[in-house]
Each structure stands twice: as C-alpha cells, then as structure tokens.
Symmetry: C2
Subunit: 376 residues, 2 copies
C-alpha cells in the first residue's frame, strides 16, 4: 500500500508568478518609478520593467494544464496561464487538484535566489525589492493559506551584513528557508571555500532555516548555441552535482554541523554516482590538498544535504545509495517538468516498489523535518 | 565464477607519456626548432618546449605504483615515473602485472584530442605534429606489442579537409579509433548540431573507427578557485554527461547509423539518470524544437554511444538501465584514478555480483567489438 491516503504530500520546489503589483504595493515612493512594474508591451504581452529594462515570463514557466504541443519559449501573459500561478487562493485549489498538501515556492521575476536584484544598478533599490518580495511572500502569499505554503525568502547577498540582517528579520517573521546561490564564485562573489558567508550560515543554523540552492542560481552549463533547448533542460542536474561536490569538499559543516542545504530541482538519480565519486577522489587526493582529516564527502552529504525529484526512476531504485532521509518530493508547478494535474498519481506510481515507511518519508516526513514545518 | 581466468581484460582508457624524441625523430628539418622538444629546466625537471612555450607533466599523471601520500600536482620527471609510462616494452610488463591484456592509450603532451596543436600558432607545424604523433603511435608504440595496444590517432580538427585526409591515412595504416573533442563548440568550432563534421564522421563510419571523446577535451566544468583539486577531479563525468545530452539531441546518428562514439574516462554511474532525464525532456520539448520525429535519446545511446568505468559501484549495480553492451572497462594507467597493480583484482571484485556472461562483455567483448580489435 504505497502512499497511504493519509500521507500529505509536501512539495519542496514549486514556483510562483508574482502578480503585477507585488513591488508597487510595497516600495517606498522614491523607488516606485525605477522599481519593478508590470506593463503591456506593443504585442499585448505582459512584461516587467525594472530600471528601464524589460523582462518576460516565458511560456515554459507557466505550462501547468497545457498540452505538450503548446509548449514554447515565447513570452506568456497572465491571461494565458492558470490563475493558480499568481493567485494564492487559486493556487491552493490547484494543489488540491494535483493532490499536494503543502509546497515551497521559488520566485520568478527576481530569479531563483534574487539574481535580478543582484544585477541591478541601484543596490539600495535592489535591497528594498528583496524586502518587498519577502514581505509579500510571508504576509500575502503564505498568509492566505496557513499550513499549505512554506515561506521561502531572499537575501541581498551582495552585502553580507545586509544579508545577515534580512535573514534575521524574516526568520523572526516566520520564514522557513532562504533561497541562495549554488555557486557564489560563478557570480564573482567569495566561494563556499571562504569564511565570507559564515555569519549568514550562523543565522540559518540558529534559526533552523535550510538554505535552498536551486539549480541555475549560479549560472547554467554551457551548451552548443544550436542545441535544442531540450539539452539545457536535461542538464539542470549538473548544477546540483557541481554544487554538491563543491560543498562536500569544504569545512562548512564542521563549523555549522546543524546547517541544512536543499538542492532544489536538481534531481536525485545522479547522487549514487557523485557520492561514490566524491569519496573515491577524496580518498586519493586528501593528503596534498590538506583534507586528510576532513569528514568523508558522503558522510557530510547524509547529515547536511538534501535532494528532491519530480520523477526519477533511477534515483528511486537506488534509495539506499542516496539516503532514505535525504530525499524529498517536488511538483514543480507550473513549470514544464511538472505533472499537474496528475502529480499525486505519478508520485504514487513512482514509489510503488518502496516500503510504506520509505514512501511516507519521501512524500512528506523528510520535507516537514528539514523545513521545520510540522502538520498544523 | 565472475571474471573467468580466460577473460582477457581490454582497457579502453589508458595514457602514454611520450618519450623525449617522439617529434624530433619525425618532424621535417624546418619544423624541428619550433616543434616539441624535451628539455631539463633550471630545477632539473623535464619540460616540453613548443613554439617557445614550456609545458610540464604533472605528478598526478604518472602516479602508477606510488602511495597516495606521494600524490601531488608538481612537475614530474621521467626518472620519477615507472618506465612503463613511456617505454612500450616496459608498458606491456606493467600490463601483465595489473592483469590487462590490451589497452587503448591517450596522448599526454598533445592533450587528449590534440588541443596543444589546435592552440599552436603555426598550423602547418601543428598538422605535422599530429602526423608525427600518429606515426609514432602506430609504428613504434603499438608495433612493439601487436595485439596488446589498440592504435588511437589524432586529427588536425581545426581543418575539416585535413581531418578527413588524416583520418583516411591512419585508417589505411591500421588505426582503430580517433580521439576527438567532446565539445567542439566550446573550442569555438562548429558544434555537433551542424553538418560541418559529416565528412569526418563518414570516414569513421566507413572505416569502422569509433570516435573517442575523452572528458576534458572541450574544457572542464568551472569550480571555485579555492576548491581543492579533488573537486575538479570528482566532476570529470560532467563533461561526458554534457556530451551525451548534446549528441542524443542531434540527428548525427540518423545520417551515420553505424558511427560509434566512446565516452572516455567519463564513468557510467550517471548514465541511468541522464538517459532517463534526456528521454523525459525530449518527450516534453520535442514539439517546439522540431525533434518530434527524432529517435528517443536512450535509443540513440544504446545503438551508438559507449561508456567506460574504472571503479563504479553505482553503475555496475544498474547495468540494465545503461545497457549491457554499452559498458567497457578502463584501467587509467598511470593516472591518479588507476588501481595499478591491483587492476584485475579490483575489477573482479566490482563485477562479483554480475553473471559470468555480463562480466565477459564488460571486461573484454564489448571493447573488442566496439574497437574492432579481435583476439589475435
């Protein structure tokens, strides 16, 4: 009897499309003009304008409910997507349809970890945009459906002091996790091999907020310019593989043993290979690299790093090689990988070979424990 | 009884350290001065000089027989390595010690696919260096041990006509495979999604020479600058994952159904995940990308792409998800991943859970079939 009826599916990677007034509703008067505003372009498409530049939501990022033949990379409009993409009351109805009890949503316009604001010219405006997003996430998006939405917040990561301050502020306000870049070095910031981020890690550890590292939050693997977009999408998990190998070759978790890291939307089927490979190379190279006394990479992974999957037969047939406590589920609503409205059915099928207690951990309990989000 | 005594292990990824006179013995008089010559530097280390620049062989690339505590990235000398690294008669003795019957060797100074020559200023000299390497590989390195060395040659891939000509020349001379770049687009050349390489693919298909794409022959994943070298080494397989996803999203194997590609030193444990992921994304994105009528990625893989492993428990416990005919073994002598002198023992142990006929395919038969290198 896999996935018993009383299991409440907790999805740890979904996406919200911000409604047109998220920032205009909250920014101080001096920031309203340059801050994010939603406009209709000359083709009738909805576009974000921010600091004079325009940005679109592409169709692939709001395909829930569409046929595959309708998928594409063209700009999309609010009117063309399910209202659940941007309306919290409609979202919870879609969650009921797909059989998901609670979910954690990543931003769209800001980028997975707020890179749109990181790239802004006016960093005071950018920090105000982060604060506005966080307030909207907690006070509006999550407050509309208590017990159904796990509040995930951003930090102004270009400024470590402001990052610490914002992390403390949102923790006090009820945030359950922080979205951060999986590859700070790729953005020109200090890497995970420095102590630069320690004050931020300390806040996260002390407040019990895991750090969510969404694939692509530090750039994406480069594919051939003529390759179909399919190739780039198939390679999403490589970001998480790089991030995992990076993290297990640091001393971060010696300094912060209770810090938890979630690899968001990275898949799990590669984990048996990468963990074995990380151990194999650590065994051979730890002497000249000064890591002889470090913990074994796979041991670090099991205590501090967590993955998630949408549909991953290879991973779910190798659960013991990953760690039964390290696997969580994600729906990915409303992106192109999601199986809405068949989410619960697909998950139940993909777990059918596993014992009931393992199914329960993967579908609900691991996520509730990692994100400190008990049944209400 | 896994790995019966009569199984002759065929390793499809090993490395040769070129002896000091490979090029000086063969280059025309006008090229000798600028061509590769081996010199002693001020510290007594052996260095290659080529077009006025100096290049070293690092210690990690010649560690066979050394303890892990002796591993490092400093320059090494011929006198510090096993003579089997560069002397063909000594190599075959080391192969007997590690229990490997036949092997395929990649170059060192030229780079896996000849990138040292690709980066040369004088492309006429560079092409002469490729020819000299190929002649040495066939006439000296392989000729010294018939039936024990599989001749792998290079092509001057910056010039498609010269590439076709050299591939035809070495095929007629007995070459069994060509080493090529896994990511031509990353080197600024036309990608696998163009028809630029078709004349070369045609020669390889018609002559039955597989194309070997060694990880790193198109660049490596970027890791944090402060990361221990261990991280970069653990991520080798990502190159092969990218290359696989690239290739299965092309029409190359519709045009050349008998062309074979070997992913050299890329590992196999990631294959179940990547093949599943490539199929999953192809199913969803094939309409707007014009690939609706293409073959399924995993089907292309099974007929045309082959992987190899050194020690890969995750892969060898998922053989059916990869394809029992798509897996080959490699020793990696004399690099830091190799298990010399325990190669045969380690392979036997890692195959112990598999049926005898599967062990035989993986340890010998697949490689003999793919490389058209029957028992002599």
């Amino acid at each position: 009897m896999p996935l018993a009826d009383d299991v409440q599916i907790v999805s740890v990677d979904d996406h919200v499309i911000e409604h047109p007034n998220v920032w205009q509703d909250r920014l101080a008067a001096k920031f309203k003009e340059a801050g994010p505003r939603n406009v209709k372009d000359e083709n009738g498409n909805d576009a974000w304008e921010f600091e004079g530049r325009r940005q679109y939501n592409i169709g692939l990022n709001a395909v829930a409910g569409k046929r595959r033949e309708e998928f594409g990379t063209d700009p999309t409009r609010y009117a063309d997507m399910l209202p659940g993409c941007y309306d919290p009351k409609e979202r919870v109805k879609d969650m009921d349809i797909e059989g998901v009890h609670a979910q954690l949503c990543f931003p769209s316009f800001p980028g997975f970890c707020g890179s749109t604001f990181f790239n802004a010219n006016d960093k005071e405006l950018a920090a105000a945009c982060v604060t506005a997003y966080n307030d909207w996430m907690i006070d509006e998006w999550c407050a509309a459906n208590p017990g159904r939405q796990i509040p995930l917040c951003l930090v102004p990561f270009w400024d470590i002091d402001a990052t610490v301050h914002e992390a403390e502020r949102v923790a006090a306000k009820g945030a359950k996790a922080i979205s951060f870049t999986e590859a700070p070095h790729a953005l020109g910031l200090p890497s995970f091999h420095t102590t630069h981020w320690d004050p931020f890690f300390r806040v996260c550890e002390e407040s019990g907020m895991p750090i969510c590292l969404h694939f692509g939050s530090g750039g994406a693997p480069s594919v051939a310019p003529e390759a179909p977009f399919t190739a780039a999408i198939a390679l999403f998990g490589l970001n998480s593989q790089m991030c995992t190998v990076d993290l297990v070759n640091t001393r971060i978790f010696e300094r912060f043993p209770n810090l938890k890291v979630a690899l968001s939307e990275g898949g799990i089927g590669w984990m048996p290979y990468i963990l074995e490979r990380a151990d194999y190379t650590w065994e051979r190279h730890r002497f000249y690299t000064g890591m002889a006394d470090a913990r074994k990479p796979s041991e670090i992974f099991r205590t501090n790093i967590f993955g998630c999957f949408i549909y991953d037969d290879a991973g779910l047939h190798n659960v013991d090689r990953i760690g039964v406590d390290n696997i969580m589920f994600e729906s990915d609503y409303p992106h192109s990988d999601c199986n809405y409205p068949h989410t619960r059915k697909m998950l139940a099928e993909s777990l059918a070979h596993l014992p009931d207690d393992v199914c329960r951990k993967i579908a609900e309990d691991n996520a509730r424990r990692v994100f400190n989000f008990p049944r209400s």
